[in-house]
């Protein structure tokens, strides 16, 4: 366990509070404020905002920030936790606003073409192999993209952990929306900790550092949103998890054949992919598949807006801000006061952030 010298502690807290007071002086957009309720809102008084109940609550859950098993002196830790919870929440709140401004600069639904791949906000193409876990890959594709956009972290998140632990499905199929719900409450492991083996396996007890802060359907699950709605969601949240009807023609499509379009292929859905952009000149979406980089165009495909039910049950997710989830200052506090290293942090990451 790493230990910090005690005199550093008050200095760090002072710096943290000063830093927050500077950022808090910035004017915020009314619209954004209504979307992301501030702890300063009179409605919340001195309490904290609870996402699920949409109410102020007395205490912020310890697990929300620390992710470790509760030690015996957890009440003592919780007291410190609560002391800094508002500060950390506010940091994330500011971060969300920055994130929205960033997205507005980068992506506009009025543009004739945009995609997150060319913006460098999509992780490499994966390969699900013979397991029907496309739903997990689509979910992690959307999450990893959001993580890149929000935190600029190119993380490889464990689809196997999702497969084993989320309860959202199996190698026999599943849906991505329960995965995101699972990411709100529990989190997902790193690929390096639970590597993909393409079979149904038991849930291992790992640290699960990758968490979502929010998710939702673009419209409702049983619909295909309109082109405009999907573009708006892509800009607002990043890449989306969507369903599609995969056919032999879909699987065998070659990029040289242009945009994929198939007549009479609108009977249901059987596959999930990540929607990463659009091009009105092509009248097509850009999708990232999970069939390896040898498929179609290096694992991607341009698919017509109106074919194979592409876009069905479109779902967005927002990765938890690293600023909020893995806070170096808070980590140092934990080490100093309780001799505990937050297992949320991989040792390498801990070094990277100066722990």
């Amino acid at each position: 366990m790493k230990k910090l010298s005690k005199p550093l502690f008050p200095t760090m807290i002072a710096l943290l509070i000063i830093g927050i007071s500077f950022t808090a002086c910035e004017e915020t957009d009314d619209q954004l404020s209504s979307r992301y309720p501030s702890p300063k809102d009179p409605k919340f008084e001195d309490k904290y905002y609870d996402r699920e109940s949409d109410n102020a609550v007395e205490q912020y859950p310890l697990e929300e920030l620390t992710q470790f098993e509760l030690p015996e002196n957890w009440q003592e830790i919780a007291a410190v936790q609560n002391e800094y919870a508002e500060i950390i929440y506010e940091m994330d709140y500011e971060r969300l606003i920055e994130y929205d401004y960033f997205l507005r600069d980068v992506c506009s639904a009025n543009r004739p073409a945009f995609n997150w791949r060319d913006a460098g906000k999509v992780t490499p193409v994966r390969n699900q192999r013979g397991c029907g876990s496309c739903w997990a890959f689509a979910a992690m594709g959307a999450y990893e993209s959001s993580n890149l956009i929000r935190n600029n972290i190119n993380a490889d998140v464990s689809e196997q952990d999702v497969l084993n632990c989320s309860g959202a499905g199996s190698c026999g199929g599943g849906w991505y929306d329960p995965v995101f719900e699972y990411m709100l409450t529990t989190g997902v492991a790193r690929e390096v900790d639970v590597p993909y083996v393409a079979i149904d396996d038991v849930c291992y007890r790992n640290t699960k550092p990758h968490r979502a802060i929010n998710w939702g359907f673009v419209t409702v699950k049983s619909t295909i949103p309109s082109v405009q709605q999907l573009k708006d969601a892509l800009c607002k949240y990043g890449s989306l998890a969507v369903a599609v009807n995969a056919t032999p023609a879909f699987a065998g499509h070659k990029p040289a054949d242009g945009v994929f379009k198939e007549e009479g292929a609108d009977e249901g859905i059987n596959h999930a992919v990540t929607l990463v952009g659009w091009d009105d000149n092509k009248n097509a979406w850009l999708i990232k598949n999970s069939w390896g980089s040898g498929w179609c165009d290096n694992g991607y495909m341009w698919i017509d807006y109106n074919t194979n039910n592409i876009g069905y049950a479109a779902t967005w997710v927002q990765a938890q801000s690293r600023f909020y989830a893995i806070d170096a200052e808070f980590q140092k506090i934990l080490v100093k006061r309780f001799d505990i290293i937050n297992p949320f942090l991989h040792p390498k990451e801990f070094e990277e952030i100066g722990g």
Binding site: Q128, R129, G130, C131, G132, S133, C134, W135, A138, G169, C171, G172, G173, G174, W175, Y176, V218, T219, V220, K221, S222, T223, I224, P225, S226, V227, Q229, A243, N245, A246, T247, P248, A251, G252, E267, G268, I269, N270, H271, A272, N289, W291, G292, G294, W295, C296, Y305, N306, N309, Y312
Partner: protein, 147 residues
């Protein structure tokens, strides 16, 4: 009277005559590595489970010992049953879909239909593979005795 006899014969003909290519023989997983008797002009249907969401499809291995004896008529598959309601030009509309009937990654049935065009013994080989990869995930084979 002659007309009645003619109609009677036509009725008998319609009752007993069955075009050879309408006789269907359905094979499935249980016939893997088995020997099966089929008749000339039979329609041979091979039904095998697969998962469209993986990109792996059953394909007739070429060249194959049954190249001359069989002619591939078509390949079909059962797709999922979720029928989304949609309005591409405006707002999406919920309501018509039956969520839960189909889900990404689920299993489906692949159907390859062959016409038996030559009397001979041969081994039919079908591979579960991705068209852009050499790797074969599963193999299915059946020995045909064509009479």
């Amino acid at each position: 009277m002659e007309q009645i006899i003619l109609l009677f014969h036509l009725w008998l003909f319609a009752l007993y005559y069955q075009p050879a290519d309408l006789t269907k023989m359905i094979l499935n997983e249980q016939h893997h590595n088995q020997q099966v008797e089929v008749s000339y002009r039979d329609t041979l249907i091979v039904e095998l489970p697969y998962q469209p969401g993986t990109g792996y499809y059953w394909v007739w291995r070429q060249p194959d010992g049954c190249d001359r004896a069989l002619k591939l008529l078509d390949e079909r598959s059962q797709s999922g049953q979720n029928r989304p309601s949609q309005d591409r030009s405006g707002l999406a509309r919920p309501g018509l879909a039956r969520p839960g009937l189909a889900r990404p990654g689920q299993e489906s049935i692949s159907q390859l239909r062959f016409l038996v065009v030559k009397k001979e013994a041969c081994q039919l080989n079908i591979d579960l593979k991705r068209s852009w990869e050499d790797h074969v995930l599963r193999e299915y084979s059946v020995k045909l005795q064509i009479k």
